[in-house]
Symmetry: C2
Amino acid sequence: MRIGELAERAGTTTRALRYYEQLGLLPARRAGNGYRAYDEGDLRLLREIRMLQDFGFGLEETRPFVECLRAGHPEGDSCPASLEVYRRKLGELDECIARLQDVRAQVAGQFDRAVRARDELAAVQEPPVCELVKE
Amino acid sequence: MRIGELAERAGTTTRALRYYEQLGLLPARRAGNGYRAYDEGDLRLLREIRMLQDFGFGLEETRPFVECLRAGHPEGDSCPASLEVYRRKLGELDECIARLQDVRAQVAGQFDRAVRARDELAAVQEPPVCELVKE
DNA sequence: GCTGGCGTTGACGCCGGGGGGAAGGTTTAC
DNA sequence: GTAAACCTTCCCCCCGGCGTCAACGCCAGC
């Protein structure tokens, strides 16, 4: 399988594959004409990379999973190093979520305060129109 | 007030202030010798920028607040444009938090599955040691 | 033999928010 | 007088994950 086909089957681009090879993440054998040659195993590795990327893992964080698969394990997360990455990532996610929730609360507080200030100012400058509304 | 003093009073760097000026976010008057000259109002603007930055606002998102203050309003969020930025930001935060929680659940699922698979494999390869433990 | 569609390498661009440092002018304190 | 501490502009660097050329090679069909 050549680079274009692999890219298409994995839903990515040839540029990304060359980049992964440059990182040593997904090295390719070479055909006689210099073209990169991939097999089904590489497709498996690439799918693992893509799945983890969708989870927000950096490429370096996918390396233990890829190497685990290449070492012959049935799953990319069959190795302790992969589990450690999971643990670290869960911690980071929790921390990130907590921080965002805190920020959200603060921004919501600012927003509410600003809206109340605006409404009070409007009430002062523009007196109630109850009489007109009643008509 | 010169740039170094303003930077120190606002808890930032001269580098950042020159960058803000380059963006047109915080323009400075010039003294006779070409040095940037700031006043207390600029400090107020800068504090507004810094607060919003701490909330994770991009510099461009702080612009409505800064211009609102410069237009003479009492608060940076006294203007409709600022409120709109608040609303947009709250939406982005909610979306981001929801996505992260979804990812967290998926990663936790993967982690649990991998741990169970490992434990089952260990149980098969290494038989229980109940007898020894009892002694 | 020529066109078109693959492939190759290499290098630069981009996004945001500045950091770092050079080369030079100014101001201030001792 | 001179050294330290400012200030100015200018330009390159960083992070990740590629996109986007440029200039070339390989191969199939007509």
